[in-house]
Symmetry: C2
Amino acid sequence: MEDVARLAGVSLKSVSRVINGEPHVSAKLRVKVEAAIAELNYVPDTAARSLAGSRAFIVGLLFDNPSPNYTMNIQTGVYEACRDSQHHLRIDNIDSTVPREELEAQLSAMLRNSRCDGFVLTPPLTDNVVLLDFLDRSGIRYVRIAPDIQPERSPGVFIDDAAGAAAMARHLWDLGHRHFAIVCGPDSHGAAGRRKQGFIDELRTLGFTDPIPEESGGFSFELGIGAGARLLAQTPRPTAIFAANDDSAAGVMVACSQAGLNVPRDVSVCGFDDSWVAKSVWPYLTTVCQPIEEMGRAAALLLLRRDEPENVLHKLDFHLVVRDSTAPPTR
Amino acid sequence: MEDVARLAGVSLKSVSRVINGEPHVSAKLRVKVEAAIAELNYVPDTAARSLAGSRAFIVGLLFDNPSPNYTMNIQTGVYEACRDSQHHLRIDNIDSTVPREELEAQLSAMLRNSRCDGFVLTPPLTDNVVLLDFLDRSGIRYVRIAPDIQPERSPGVFIDDAAGAAAMARHLWDLGHRHFAIVCGPDSHGAAGRRKQGFIDELRTLGFTDPIPEESGGFSFELGIGAGARLLAQTPRPTAIFAANDDSAAGVMVACSQAGLNVPRDVSVCGFDDSWVAKSVWPYLTTVCQPIEEMGRAAALLLLRRDEPENVLHKLDFHLVVRDSTAPPTR
DNA sequence: AACATCATTGTCAGCGCTGTCAAGACGAAG
DNA sequence: CTTCGTCTTGACAGCGCTGACAATGATGTT
């Protein structure tokens, strides 16, 4: 940094100001310093910055999620944003199924271990009131991914789950389906409910009045198999099954093949997320593509850019990915 | 730290010595300091340690791997080891398919970005000579996971792939199978070759002399489908197919169902890794369980503990996981 | 007993940066 | 032309720890 200051003919502090984008720096000075930084290929030392300043240059990412695909994608996005802003990423697994006291003990231990500038929260932690209260009490900033309850409580990143499910409903409707069923997700996941409701509402809007049977697939492959089997046993047998995520959709596909039914000829199956499983099953899954990695990146940026207005909710776009698991009904 | 020193009645430097496990510290002093640390719940500041000392307290993890399951598991292990030793983890994706100069440029950029105490290398980076040379030239320590070439070149963590594949061969043999086929992995993966060879050698040892057809499944679901289809078209049709990893085994299972064959009644299919896919297919996959997370942890520990003898190779145990995708042949 | 040797403990500067505060520059208002 | 306020820049201490070196005490050697 000294070299930069000397080359630019300014003081150390001025270089620091430019690096941190502080106000009250003349344009001329900024240009000089930036040129010097570029010429010397200077990269500030994170350890020193964190020691001297009030920031830790660490972003925390909190998980309580069984899906490695989702986890991995979010993490990749968060990681890239961190790396580009010279921050470290720390990851922690929280078990949120335990009673309040135990959860708070986990959190205290986590905080004692090392200070963070803020946390990115993934579902279902996103809607865990004990956790949110704890972070608020500790005065730690956080950004929530796909928040359901109290959306104004913190900055957040989300997609319109209901609209995604509605798009899927329209896709199936347009193919000609008139016998639907739903494999729902766990109640602890706000998104699960929004997807289910969005799907139903759209069908109702389209004028569909029959009952729509549903079974819980718990967002997992294994529970998806059972849910699929139960739905396929209904009369009339559904010709299109919407699962609230890809993992349970994969389970439904297994249930179909166990019942001797061909996808998509006998039954159309579709999921939600466009996770890695969507292309690990055959036929490839028609699904709603959430930009998961992008959501991670956006969440981290929301945390790092402190100049934003308070508690922005950043909405990202989904899109329908039509693959081979949906087709017009043959019955 | 000052508080600890005062409470223990020693100097700052002595506390530092205890924390870092330096020699020349009397047992009495160590005990006093440790008691004080425990009482005050003291955790040393990583930023200050890295600023003052010669270490960065950062472990790098290098990937060039398409499998999110493997990646995620390794990462979890490495991460836990890092967290427990107060280190940060940085992750980098390297594209090793590019020409030498470009690869070296990627690496230089990576190093300039922030200093690391060492790297954990995952396959296929493990056997990338350009990368190894670069790290050696830069004087950076590294630990390799599942090294194939030049095993004595660095510390490493591995399982006996050949023995794992041999165990699988014996399992299929004992079930009564006498028509085998292999879906191999990519040549750049040392483990892929060892698995194939271990499988073949064991069958030969058991007295099997027929040719064993093989097709490349490139360690991926998609290529596994094609490889499986080609193998199932052979005459006589194999009754047991060994895929060199779980992803390609999942592909083979799809090929079976496309060919109208039931797994395991008509064809037994098995994989290798016991990754998350093994339980995302139906029937659940018989496979060889590699302790992937444990390998990550062990690799990080090898990097962090500098008191080890030079270039230790740490061998971990595999075990056969018999699930529902293998059964006695019906033909 | 005097001295060399080594294990143990302490002192202190300084790692690279930012926060605080003060000084300088400049323009507007009186 | 002075006075004041605002904007811009700089000087300097110190964040919490470790490395180099000094000091002290214990042990062995002649």
